[in-house]
Each structure stands twice: as C-alpha cells, then as structure tokens.
Symmetry: C2
Subunit: 218 residues, 2 copies
C-alpha cells in the first residue's frame, strides 16, 4: 500500500471520542484553520453547505453548559438500575472544561432553499450533510494529533438559547477540541466493558437485506 | 507539514460527489474491504454502531432503482421554472448503472437499545452516527482513488421494499462506488454555475451566534 493510503487509514483507525485526555494547551497557529477548512470541504446536498461552526472559548459559557450536562447525566443515570447504573457511574462523558475550546456545529435548513438539489424527497439530507462535515472535522483533528469529543447529553433548546442561535437553526453537536496527553487505543465504552465492536461481517449484506440474529438489539 | 498530514488533507479536498466519471471497472482485491472497514470504524453514539451496508451489484435491482430515480427527477424538474429548469436539465444526478457497485447504508435504531449512552436527550444521535460512517466510507474511497456518488432522488419506502429492508430499519443513503476516469477539481454544481462554495468566514462564529446577512437563504 502506498504511504498516503497507509497514513489515511492510520488516521481513521486512530481517531477516538475523547473525554478524559484533554490537556487544555494552546492549539498551534494554522491548525484550527486547517481543521475547519476540512469540515467546510465536506460534501453537502445540492452544495448547500448548511453548516455553521461556533467557536466557544469563554469559560462562563462553557461552565453554564457543563452544569446543564451534569443535570442531563443525572436524569439519564436515574433511568438505570443495578449493573448498568454502576458501570455508568464510572464512565466519563465529556471534557467541556478541560478541552482548549469547543466547536458547536449547527444546521441551517434555509441555506440554499427553496430549491436544494436532492432534498425534495429526503428532507433530512441537509442534516446528513452537517454530519459529514463533523466527521471531516473529527478526522482532521486526529490527523493533527488533537483530540475531539462529541457531547450529546444536552437539550437542543438549552444550547440554542445559551449561544443565541436563532429558532430556525438547529444545533447538531457540541464538540470538545484540543491537544491531548494521548489517544486511547480502543473506544472508552469498550474499556468499561459496556460495549464491544461488532465483527464487520455482521453489518455487511450482499444484494439484499439479510437478517442477522443477534445484531439488532444486542 | 508532515507528509501524513499533507496526504490526509489531499484526500479531504480531492473527494468529489461523482456522477459521470464511473468506468465500471472491477475493484482490486482488498480495496472494498478496507473501505468498508473505514466506515465501520466511525464513531457512534454509545458505541451502538447502528449502520448496515448492503452491497448491490445485481443489474436488475440497479435498473429498477434507476427507473425510480428518473421518476423522482422528473417530479423535481416539474417544480422548477425558467433558468433553474434549464440548468437542471443539464445536470447529471447519478451514476447508478455505470458505477461498479452500489452501497446502501441503513440505520437501525434498535441496535444497542434500550440504553444507548448519549441518545436519551437527542434521539437523532443514532442517525448522525450513520452519517459519520458514510463520510469515512467516502473519504476512504477517495484515498483509494475510487469515486463515490450519493444519490438522494428516491423515496425511502421504495428503496426499503426493493431490498427487503425491515420496517424498523431506515435507509439513509444509496452510494455509487467504483473506479473513475478522473475526479473533477470542483463540485459539479459549481461547474454548472448553480452554486458556489461559501467563504469560510461566513460559517465561522466566535463565542456566540453572529448574524450573517446573505449566508442564510442565499
């Protein structure tokens, strides 16, 4: 395999969802710009580019969001019992206060409307485009040796109000970003024994859907 | 910049949404496996890995889908007038019959349920995970020198029935994949003068949402 290909796959497989390893160190000049340019180079339905990126460094804003996330964590914890509850109590879910900054990614359905090519039959296609940009951002961070963690323990309405996001723009992700002490070699939930990665054979089908006992709901 | 980083960014910026350049040639041994392994290595909420990949090579299946896409294209075309209609008449929207194969990607909300960590507040987080896998797949294809095109002119119910996808599994994407004669240097819709890429300054905000006249709905 040529070196470029090996390097690319190394990034894909090295990328992790980071919670605990952020150092808070500054990001070197030019790095954040390259990472954001990667996100902005993502494919989008009808070239609508319906994403925005809000860079949040302010400590008060982050503390307010962190408080909200702790409430949501407690709410979720209250739905668990026994072994699940115990396991979750040891799982870290975010690095909001430790990471150098956060990047909030949003979706604007009005951008490029009314005639967004390819969205007439599948309205969610615009939302899908935003996620493609997030993965570009995530991989670019890994390529640069930075860590990224997607926080999803929050209510969209809370985040929208916190950042003054207009009613017709949807928050899609709160991403913690910055230098890390290291990237773990396996997903955090695998370390905790909560989940394991599925063999790829279980998720690949030939020609038509093939039922796989055990994959769904396992 | 180190070589690995340059190589990674080259892939990100070289990736295109391909419609017209598929050659239909065979894919070399091992390549499809590496591309699918990239998709399967994507991050997912609560490590739920809620994606499946249906590899479609059968010509009858592809022709049936292609016929449906032509109908949807006509339906969309009928909503356009004047210059928009004329521009669209020259825009190619898919390479279903030309590409070596198609990969249909689906979302299974039941995988890992009921307690998917991080999905209690944001139900769409599982759907987002599937899109992250699609972008990994897309970039890996570009890294391998293959083309990929996302077709979104179809009804989900039609595709589900065509491939025997169960009612509780949602089709997310029909992707055409295979060797190409070349990758264009700019998005197809830019060539056609329908859209242009936004300056990145228009989509980056500091600390809070900042209104940008012209970005939304432009």
């Amino acid at each position: 395999m040529v070196a470029q290909l090996e390097g690319f796959y190394d990034v894909v497989h090295r990328r992790r969802d980071v919670r605990a390893q952020f150092t808070g160190a500054e990001i070197a000049d030019g790095v954040l710009e390259r990472i954001l340019a990667s996100a902005h180079a993502a494919p989008s339905v009808g070239l609508s580019q319906p994403w925005d990126f809000v860079l949040v460094r302010d400590e008060t804003t982050r503390k307010t969001f962190w408080d909200h996330v702790q409430q949501e964590r407690q709410e979720y914890a209250a739905t668990l019992e026994g072994a699940s509850a115990e396991l979750f109590s040891g799982v870290r879910i975010e690095g909001i206060l430790d990471a150098t900054l956060s990047v909030v990614v949003t979706y604007d359905p009005a951008r490029g409307a009314p005639s967004v090519l390819g969205r007439h039959a599948i309205d969610d296609a615009g939302l899908y485009s935003v996620c493609l940009a997030i993965e570009n951002l995530w991989l670019a961070a890994a390529a640069e040796g930075l860590g990224l963690g997607w926080v999803s323990f929050y209510r969209e309405s809370f985040l929208a109000e916190l950042l003054g996001i207009p009613r017709d723009i949807r928050p899609v992700a709160w991403l913690c970003l910055g230098p890390v002490s290291d990237l773990e070699s396996a997903p955090d939930l695998e370390h905790h024994g909560r989940r394991s990665r599925l063999p790829i054979e279980e998720v690949v089908h030939e020609e038509r859907w093939e039922d796989r006992a055990g994959a769904s709901g396992s």
